[in-house]
Amino acid sequence: MKLFAAFAVVLALAAPQASLPDIEDEVMCVECGTVLSVSSSPVAQQERDFIREQIAAGRDKEQIKQALVAEYGEEVLADPGTGGFNLTLWLVPIVIVLLAVAGIGVAYKRWRGAPEDEPELPPPLSPEDARRLDAELGG
């Protein structure tokens, strides 16, 4: 039992301490719509104070982010998550990239296979022209 408790203490000491700079670049200023780290509005200042209070209370980064969501809602997170409509935020860029790659692939295939892009071969020489050509080259 004592060994387990000691192990838990070691783990707790080894866990990285939450810090304001580490959290504020993953959190939004809820009123200004920018990342908290670049905002200096009054609500941003309140959010920073709230984070400092949570750090002082010994909470880790995830607990602090959850506490922020409880106070300010999901929009406080810079990473919007994958639940509900937020899933489209992740899917739409992927779909656009896939469509763009498909478009480029189709375009490349057509450019390579396009018959009008290849130089047209001249019509074969008539027997008379062939004889004249041979005579001139030979003569």
Binding site: V95, L99, G103
Partner: protein
């Protein structure tokens, strides 16, 4: 030369343009309510069940049907909100015996800061919490403070997108308090 249309590229471009257009439209503030109230219409106030700031449990405008409600959207970090609290508190005390009240809507605010804010100013009117402004958006709220006067039938009779003044309250409250439900 033949014009080539590559449908995947076209679809991708159309989707991108559509997203940009949606982004522009979604960011535009909704003025439908402002126009309706300015034209004398009284649109029904949106109803949503929200947590109380002071106590546990949920409440909503529907709990106050039959009363005139001065719904004030505020936050403790908002300086103009700080300045109008004494007037709102005075108004709350004045209209309560006449079947009216001031109801706060504390928005995008840390609850401990919000409670301290009210305590420091001896404000006794109650507040609901709209933590992410989802409810406020139904009123077209874009800033703080904003105030809406709801008549006894639960309709928006007046609104102000700035701090309230005594003149504005005097212009609307007496006649609304005199109305029957």
């Amino acid at each position: 030369m033949r014009l080539r249309v590559f449908w995947p590229v076209t679809v991708a471009a159309a989707a991108l343009v559509g997203l940009l257009a949606y982004g522009l439209v979604a960011k535009r503030s909704d003025t439908t309510l402002d126009e309706a109230v300015a034209n004398g219409a009284r649109p029904a106030a949106p109803i949503a069940s929200l947590p109380w700031l002071h106590t546990g449990g949920q409440g909503s405008l529907a709990d106050y049907k039959g009363k005139v409600v001065v719904l004030n959207v505020w936050a403790s970090w908002c300086d103009p909100c700080r300045e109008e609290v004494p007037l709102l508190q005075k108004t709350h005390e004045k209209i309560e015996p006449q079947g009216g009240l001031v109801l706060g809507l504390d928005t995008q605010d840390a609850s401990n800061k919000a409670l301290a804010f009210l305590k420091e100013r001896d404000a006794t009117f109650l507040s609901l919490r709209d933590r992410d402004r989802a409810y406020g958006r139904e009123f077209g709220v874009t800033g703080y403070p904003e105030t809406f006067i709801i008549d006894r039938s639960g309709r928006i009779a007046a609104m102000r997108r700035f701090p309230v003044t005594q003149e504005w309250l005097d212009q609307h409250l007496p006649k609304l308090l005199a109305e029957q439900a």
